[in-house]
Every structure is written in structure tokens, then in C-alpha cells.
């Protein structure tokens, strides 16, 4: 079905449940939304509303019961997806650059091409000089940069981020948000990012989707019409506060 040429993801009536030992645990139902090409969307919701589950279903890590997840073709091929977890999830026995190279190695990419792409990612994420470092030598923020570089190295069309900065301190978190915007500007991807921070969502996104718990689905689809490029100043404008207040209102349900 290619009736949404501008969309890069269409989700309809998605239903996800887990088979637990004591019965069926229903997590998601009636989830409908679509993402436009190169759009930056944030998914926000109270804890337990199934944000991570939704992202995992979209990334193909868990099966869904009914409904549909469609990725319209880009340039006549299936779009590639990338996923960044809350934890950096680096392999401790691989150096920084070897960690970035992992997805390419798994896809049997020639070594010369791997080197070239890894170098490009290291530069994009500002990790120059640390190529040979071991993960335990990196700070939390740097480790998360590596995770982002690793997810970008295959040049995905859609990037799913699951609270990628959730474990970072406030300042690092804001810095990383700005970095992410810069990368998004440079690379132009469709991004869907789960977060539990209202300011983060407003600062980053073109659109914020609010997911309420089972069986409500997406209860609010809020466009954020703030000018880009965005910088720190924006956080103190009335429009920013307005959007944050609206989201806050819907999260209190």
C-alpha cells in the first residue's frame, strides 16, 4: 500500500501482548500514527504505557498481535531502520571504532568500506582521538555517542531511539540533545525518539506523540511549531512553555 508517499512509517491499529505464565498481558492496543519523511518525532507517555514496547515492535524485535506496521519504500527499496537503546550497550571487548563497525561487519561489508564509514561516523559524533579506547574508559555521554554512531553507520532511513539520554545527567543530556539535532540536520533521517522528559521532547521534536496506557493508544499528536535551528534560548520562550504545559496536561490523565 503506497497511498502515503510522504510517509516513512505508517502504524495502524497496532496491538501487542505478551504471553505471561499467568495469562495474556496486553500492553498496546489501538495505536495509530504515521511519521513523515525526515520528521523528528518524540514519543512520550507515563511509565508503563508501553513506549519501549512500541519501539521494539517497530524495530522488529518483538512480534505484534494484530494491526500493521508499514515502511513505504524509499528509492524503490525497503527502508533501513536503526535502534539506539537506553543503555549504550557497547561490547566491552571491542574498542570504540570496533563497536561502531559491528553492524557493518554483521552485514559482510568490505573492510575498506567499513574503515571509511567508521571514520566518517567518528567525525560526525565528535569522537576523534578516542578510536582505540575501550568502552570502560568512556564517560556515559561518550558511550551514548558511540551507540548513536553505531546506529547511524548503516545509514538507516528511520532511527528509533529509546530514551537514549535517560541515564545521563541533566547537563550532558542537554548537550547531547543539541548534538543529536546537529546530526539530524546534517543527515536528515526520520527519527522517532522515546523520552520521558517533556522539555527534551519539545526542544527536539517536530511533533510529540503522547501514548497513554492500554487500551487508549496515541491520545495526543502535538505539532511543535518552533523555529529551527533551535538553541538553548528557546527553552525560555513562552511558546516553549506553552507546548510543555499542553503535554504536561495530557500526561496527567
Amino acid at each position: 500500500m503506497n497511498s502515503y508517499p510522504e510517509n516513512s512509517l505508517v502504524v495502524q491499529d497496532l496491538k501487542v501482548s505478551f504471553q505471561e505464565t499467568d495469562g495474556l498481558l496486553q500492553v498496546l492496543d489501538n495505536v495509530c500514527f504515521s511519521l513523515q519523511k525526515n520528521e523528528f518525532a518524540c514519543l512520550i507517555g507515563p511509565s508503563g504505557s508501553g513506549k519501549s514496547t512500541l519501539l521494539r515492535a517497530l524495530a522488529g524485535l518483538i512480534p505484534y498481535e494484530s494491526g500493521s506496521i508499514e515502511f513505504p519504500e524509499v528509492h524503490g527499496r525497503k527502508p533501513r531502520t536503526g535502534l539506539v537503546f537506553q543503555k549504550a550497550n557497547l561490547m566491552p571487548w571491542r574498542t570504540l571504532e570496533e563497536n561502531i563497525a559491528l553492524p557493518l561487519q554483521l552485514a559482510h561489508t568490505p573492510q575498506a568500506e567499513i574503515n571509511k564509514k567508521v571514520k566518517e561516523m567518528v567525525e560526525l559524533t565528535g569522537l576523534q582521538g578516542f578510536e582505540k579506547s575501550w568502552p570502560h574508559e568512556l564517560s556515559g555521554g561518550m558511550a551514548q555517542r558511540v551507540a548513536i554512531a553505531r546506529s547511524l553507520v548503516q545509514d538507516p532511513d528511520i532511527l528509533f531511539l529509546d530514551e537514549p539520554f535517560g541515564s545521563l545527567d541533566e547537563l550532558t543530556r542537554e548537550r547531547m540533545s543539541e548534538e543529536l539535532l546537529r546530526i539530524w540536520n546534517e543527515k536528515r533521517k526520520t527519527i522517532l525518539m522515546v523520552t520521558h522528559s517533556i522539555p527534551e521532547a519539545v526542544f527536539l521534536a517536530d511533533r510529540v506523540l503522547v501514548l497513554a496506557g492500554f487500551p487508549q493508544g496515541i491520545v495526543l499528536d502535538l505539532p511543535i511549531d518552533l523555529p529551527r535551528p533551535r538553541d538553548d534560548e528557546l527553552r525560555y520562550t513562552p511558546q516553549f512553555a506553552q507546548a510543555a504545559a499542553t503535554l504536561h496536561e495530557h500526561l496527567k490523565l
Binding site: 535502534l83 537503546f85 550497550n89 566491552p92 559491528l102 554483521l106
Partner: protein, 269 residues
């Protein structure tokens, strides 16, 4: 503001000497030889009870030049290498299969627990009875001694593989083989090598017990031979060779461990 200037001072000679890693072991070795020689001189013991270091050394040179030493040492070495290799390889493969089939693991768990408490050397005589005094029975004893520590450690190591990294590999659509190669092997290698280190030391005991029970070649045979002929110096040569062999084997495994785990140098192995 306090400024700390260089506190580097000329350290005393004693400290500078002891900082060399090899110096203290060497001192203790020389002391050991000295006490041994002194005991020999003071107690006037007959040579078949306690030979002097010089006599043992002469014996060593003798068996070295007439080829007896290498003839027997190489045999023990062969038993050990074959036993270690086959024991570790089969234990790793079986450990991997068991970790993937929990039912089978539960089925075999009484044996796994039992194997941890019964030393394989205890059944060494049985193995000699069943398989004869040849090379095979000794290799089998070595293999069995190394088998269980490695098997148990592979199971533990596989269980330790992070679920998050498994999910990461899934998100890259990695194949089973890729997960094994890029995740499961490197993640469980530290524990596996720890098992190999324990197993390697134990397997030497296994080989010697096997040779003592029944053999016509090897360091254990040499010990038996020396004892039978009241050639105590020969027993000493064989025992020191064994110590040397055990220490070398341990160092090799430790070296492999350091090489494979250079990413966790921050953690004392």
C-alpha cells in the same frame, strides 16, 4: 596555595633491588638450595634418602645427555597437550549445546554437580584397567580432568552473556553463528579461560597418577623407576621436571588469558 614539589627521592638500594620482579623469587630459590645442601651436609643422610643438589644436578645432566629425560618428559607433554586439547574442545562444544537446551542441562545436572566433588584422579586406576597402560588411557584421564571445569565454566559464561547485547545483535538481524562468534564467545571467554587454567593444573595431576598406576614411559614412570631402584636423585629430577612443566603450562594459559582479555586490563586477572 600549597604547591607540591617533586617528592621523588633517591630510594634506598634495597628498595630499588626488590622492585625487580625476578629478584625475590631468585633469592628464595637460592635460600632453598642452600638449606637443602646444609641439611645434606649436617644430617649425613644416605644419598638414597636425600641426595644433595649437586648429585641431583649431575643426575639431571646424565639423563639429559643419554636421552632418557626427553624420552619421558616428551611423553608426559604429549599426554597433557592431547588431553587438554580434546578435553577443552569437547567441553566447550557440549557446554554450548547444553546452554542452548535447558532441559538437557537439567537432566545432566546431577552429573555436573557430582563431577565437581569427585576428583577424576580417583577413577584413574579404573581407566587404566579398562583401556590399558598405553597413551590413550592417560590422554583420557587428562581430558576428563580438564573437561568438567571447562564445561561448568562454559555454562556459567554463557549464562552471563548480557541480555541487552543479545537484543542488540537481534536488532542487527545477526545470525546464530554471528551471535556465537561476535557475542557469546568473547563474552564467555574470561570464564572459560579461568576454567582452563584450573583444568590445566589438575590435568597434570591426572597424567602423573595415570603414569604411576601403569605406564612404561613418562615422568610418572620415571618416578616409579627411581623409587624401585633406590635412585632417589632420579625421583628428584622427575619431580622438578614436573614442577617445571606445571609452572610452564600455567604461565601459557595465563599468557593466553592476558592476551585474550587485554580489554579488561583494569581488572586483576
Amino acid at each position: 596555595m600549597a604547591i607540591r614539589t617533586s617528592t621523588q627521592q633517591e630510594s634506598p638500594i634495597w628498595q630499588r633491588v626488590t622492585r625487580q620482579r625476578w629478584i625475590l623469587p631468585l633469592i628464595s630459590l637460592v635460600l632453598f638450595l642452600g638449606i637443602w645442601q646444609a641439611l645434606y651436609l649436617l644430617l649425613h643422610l644416605p644419598t638414597f634418602i636425600l641426595p644433595s643438589p649437586a648429585i641431583v644436578w649431575a643426575k639431571f645432566l646424565q639423563v639429559l645427555t643419554n636421552g632418557i629425560w626427553w624420552h619421558n618428559t616428551s611423553y608426559t607433554l604429549l599426554e597433557l597437550s592431547l588431553g587438554l586439547f580434546f578435553g577443552a574442545v569437547t567441553a566447550s562444544i557440549l557446554g554450548y549445546i547444553l546452554s542452548k537446551t535447558p532441559t538437557l542441562e537439567k537432566l545432566l545436572s546431577p552429573f555436573l554437580v557430582g563431577s565437581q566433588s569427585v576428583p577424576v584422579v580417583a577413577i584413574a586406576p579404573l581407566i587404566i584397567i579398562w583401556f590399558g597402560p598405553g597413551l590413550f588411557s592417560k590422554v583420557l584421564i587428562c581430558a576428563l580432568t580438564v573437561f568438567f571445569p571447562v564445561l561448568v565454566n562454559v555454562l556459567v559464561g554463557m549464562r552471563q552473556v548480557s541480555q541487552d547485547l543479545r537484543e542488540l545483535m537481534d536488532s542487527f538481524k545477526a545470525s546464530k553463528w554471528q551471535i556465537l562468534r561476535h557475542l557469546e564467545i568473547p563474552a564467555s571467554l574470561p570464564v572459560l579461560l579461568g576454567g582452563l587454567r584450573v583444568g590445566a593444573t589438575l590435568s597434570i595431576i591426572g597424567a602423573i597418577v595415570g603414569e604411576l598406576v601403569g605406564s612404561d614411559r613418562g615422568l610418572g614412570y620415571l618416578i616409579n623407576l627411581g623409587r624401585g631402584q633406590y635412585d632417589t636423585a632420579l625421583v628428584f629430577v622427575a619431580v622438578f621436571s614436573l614442577i617445571f612443566l606445571a609452572a610452564s603450562l600455567y604461565s601459557i594459559v595465563l599468557f593466553l588469558e592476558r592476551r585474550a582479555l587485554k580489554w579488561q586490563t583494569w581488572q586483576e586477572i
